[in-house]
């Protein structure tokens, strides 16, 4: 436990938070970079994946695409993808730009499957009968999407974003380890200096960040669960609805029949 005490001492050492300290310090700068990269990458990924997921979830077209895409992306080694993209871009631009751009593309690519799967499976988890009845009431397809499907599947949509964000936070660690800014650089420099306090301190910081972000999303997910859904008087298709409320994200399709 001494190791942890020393690591925490390192984290809370004011010297490591002084503005203008030698890279990879101060800590807050790396933290800000980490969050910025994450935010930008997830934003771009969401702009691509959410509309696509809504389209696929609403129409049911391209279901197989989502499944193979998410499955295939899972098999890709992050580190390899990161290096491959930065190297390919490096042939046509200066290396700092290539590193940044390549990393961003990799981050976006890695975040898309979770967000896509969340949006798609969220929409698919909505009771078919509810949608049918909305259509029979005279809602247009857009109204069905905006007023029925999206509100009812928000917890799963947020769940997809949650997975995407955590995925990106973790990948930024590796990206920063290999040159980009971010908290991973603290670990990298610690290994370089053979300073375990710094290594462990950096690791604890990243873990805390991930758990914190995860917690925030867990709360958002709970808040987005519509009050009318999943009450105590559950009947019939309640299992599907209850599943929609469970926090962690879904991969591919939470098959209604099976649950």
């Amino acid at each position: 436990m001494n190791l942890f005490i020393d690591a925490f001492a390192w984290i809370f050492d004011p010297a490591n938070w002084v503005a203008g300290a030698q890279s990879p310090l101060p800590i807050q700068d790396r933290l800000a970079e980490h969050l910025l990269y994450t935010f930008v990458a997830v934003l771009i990924a969401a702009l691509i994946a959410l509309p696509l997921g809504f389209y696929i979830g609403h129409t049911g077209k391209g279901r197989q695409f989502v499944i193979s895409f998410t499955g295939g992306m899972r098999a890709l080694p992050t580190l390899g993808v990161l290096f491959f993209l930065t190297m390919v871009l490096g042939y046509s631009m200066v290396s700092t730009t290539a590193n940044f751009l390549g990393t961003m593309i990799a981050l976006v690519l890695l975040a898309i499957p979770s967000i896509l799967a969340g949006a798609y499976s969220g929409l698919e988890s909505v009771d078919r009968q509810t949608i049918d009845s909305a259509r029979a009431s005279g809602m247009t397809e857009l109204q069905i999407l905006v007023k029925v499907e999206i509100p009812l599947s928000l917890p799963l949509i947020v769940g997809g974003l949650r997975s995407g964000v955590l995925q990106v936070i973790a990948t930024v660690v590796i990206a920063s380890y290999v040159g980009l800014g971010g908290l991973g650089r603290i670990i990298a420099s610690g290994i370089g200096l053979n300073d375990y306090n710094r290594i462990l301190g950096g690791a604890i910081l990243i873990t805390a960040l991930a758990l914190l972000v995860d917690g925030v999303f867990a709360v958002i997910q709970r808040l987005t669960a519509t009050p009318g859904v999943g009450g105590p008087a559950d009947t019939g298709r309640s299992a599907v609805r209850r599943q929609a409320q469970r926090q962690p994200a879904t991969v591919g399709t939470p098959n209604q029949e099976r649950e």
């Binding site: 009771d127 009845s133 909305a134 009812l152 009050p227 009318g228």
Partner: protein, 289 residues
């Protein structure tokens, strides 16, 4: 008036869901489409508000071919009730009932006020207005479904096995309620069920369908009972097994009342006193209707 003219529905794989159906549905009546699963009764119903389009033939509402009407506009002008109510689980009861008026652009306060009136109409306590569908019983949800269908004051009410998921006692109650509502509000009701007793209980006109979407018989319940068109209809309504053949027992000496029994001798009911004289001594066959 609703009219089916030579309506056929064929799916891309070649199976026929509906085969050349002609039906005329008079205004302000209850027409029940009845048949077992696979008989295409729901498909027929959903052609009226264009949830399904026929492959050939026409569906006319008041003389207008529905194919020429924008489906969204058409649906907003026709009430639709389905099994389990089909309510939006994330909206309060009052907002569920107001769905169609709000879609049509009615002001929120006016729509809410109308919703509350409709809760009275279908016999629900206004105190339920701010609850969510999940907090209501099955029967209550079904009433909300009816209220929602009535909200835009449509002339036509389509009901797709609306009482299929509630227990028998509540179902009887809802059936009675529907008859009351229909005569009070003068709606044209098209009702789908697989339950022949429900069909007899509700119908002014029955359409009996057989597998493959073929009309087996159209007529009033009395006509269908008296003259089943063929063996299929006879078997479907239970006439062939004697289920609908009732006999009067001799008057019970103690109470002076007459018990009606079915062909197996099991009691089916009592004869009202003012008709009792016909039962004296003799036990003529009567048919339930």
């Amino acid at each position: 008036m609703i009219e089916f003219r030579g309506v056929t529905k064929q799916y891309p794989d070649g199976t026929l869901a509906i085969e050349h159906v002609d039906i005329v549905i008079q205004p302000r009546t209850i027409t029940v489409l009845v048949g077992s699963s696979g008989s295409g009764k729901t498909t027929l119903l959903r052609m009226i508000n264009r949830m399904v389009d026929p492959t050939s033939g026409q569906v006319l509402v008041d003389g207008t071919d529905v194919a020429t009407v924008d489906p969204v506009r058409l649906r907003r002008s026709i009430g639709y009730v389905m099994q389990n109510g089909g309510l939006l689980p994330h909206r309060r009861i009052v907002d569920n009932v107001a769905t169609v008026p709000l879609l049509r652009g009615v002001a929120k306060s006016a729509a809410r006020a109308r919703s509350l009136e409709l809760l009275d109409t279908v016999g629900l306590d206004r105190g339920l207005a701010d609850k969510y569908p999940r907090q209501l019983s099955g029967g209550q949800q079904q009433r909300v479904g009816v209220a929602r269908a009535l909200a835009a004051d449509p002339n036509i009410l389509l009901m797709d096995e609306p009482f299929g998921a509630v227990d028998p006692i509540v179902r009887l109650e809802l059936q009675t309620e529907l008859r009351r509502l229909q005569s009070a509000l003068d709606k044209t009701v098209v009702f789908v069920t697989h339950d022949i007793d429900e069909a007899f209980a509700l119908a002014d006109q029955m359409v009996i369908l057989r597998t493959g979407g073929i009309v087996a018989q159209i007529g009033t319940p009395a006509e269908v009972l008296a003259h089943p068109a063929d063996d299929f209809v006879a078997s479907f309504i239970g006439a062939d097994r004697g289920q609908r053949r009732l006999r009067l027992q001799p008057r019970d000496p103690a109470s002076g009342r007459i018990v009606v029994v079915d062909s197996a001798g099991r009691p089916a009911g009592l004869i009202e006193d003012d008709h009792a004289s016909i039962g004296d001594g003799a036990s003529p066959d009567v048919k339930a209707s």
